[in-house]
């Protein structure tokens, strides 16, 4: 069976694509996380108001809608990236950048407790991304 591989891209295009996907993902996830925290436990809402009530509660949040808008951009940027970059580089690369960015954004914007262990993990993630790019 012939291996299926995307067309090769320059390193600049590769990392610019990965960075763009990551930025949209970070913005979208932080906004959605804030919205879901504000809405409350979806399992409990679904148990009381049904699936329709849970969907209505989510869609009524403007913060969620802003996050979903960012995630839509993220999706098309992801499709564009996957047409140029191998999945084994794009997926971990995007996940790593998104993870580091989310940790910083969650601490700054959501006031989540990001302790020393989590910052140490970001160093591992950065080295891991470097190794992936070699």
């Amino acid at each position: 069976m012939t291996p299926i591989t995307p067309h090769a891209a320059t390193p600049l295009l590769t990392w610019a694509s990965i960075a763009a996907v990551s930025v949209f993902a970070i913005a979208g996830e932080v906004l959605i996380a804030g919205a879901m925290r504000n809405i409350g436990d979806l399992d409990l809402i679904r148990a009381r108001s049904g699936l329709r009530g849970a969907i209505r509660a989510v869609l009524a949040s403007p913060i969620f809608l802003a996050g979903a808008f960012c995630m839509a951009f993220n999706f098309f940027a992801m499709l564009y990236t996957l047409s140029h970059v191998e999945l084994s580089l794009a997926a971990p690369g995007i996940a790593s950048f998104t993870y580091v960015g989310n940790a910083a954004a969650a601490k700054v914007f959501l006031r989540e407790r990001v302790n020393g262990r989590r910052w140490l993990a970001t160093i591992f993630v950065c080295v891991g991304v470097f190794m992936l790019a070699k």
Binding site: I4, R37, G40, L42, A57, L87, L89, A95, F124
Partner: protein, 157 residues
Amino acid sequence: MTPKMTHKLALNQYLVLLTIIVTASFGDTLLSRGMSQVGPVGLHHLPLLFHALFNLNIILGIILLVGFFGSYMTALSWADLTFVMPATAFGNVLIALLSRFWLHEHLSTSRWIGIFLLTAAVAFVADTPARTPDAVTPGDTLPVPLPDPLAEPVVAL
């Protein structure tokens, strides 16, 4: 006094995390397979992305990613973003295995080391509390108490 952080998850909550891992990994892999069949999309041919929506692999990938998104939102309603992200990062290992054995992509030694480091990073943060009780919503200036999940959801007019 530092507020107590909740960590213990119920079985169905672990299942939600597992669903996130599986749907994200297989969804991304199907999208990659589909885009490889569609071909490269240049900046001057962006409408080709809509053509990709008729590819079977892309359609299946989107269905899985819709499942991922629902599970992800559910998890974020009872856990921190910084808890859900690393807990689901194990999907990278699954993607690497799918890329190697299903898409037949080449994984060099350095990429395997990178994946190992990412997994180690996840292990660092996995055993931390799931929820910071005094976190805030974007736009707030001060920490606010968690809303009562049994209260009526606010519906915008």
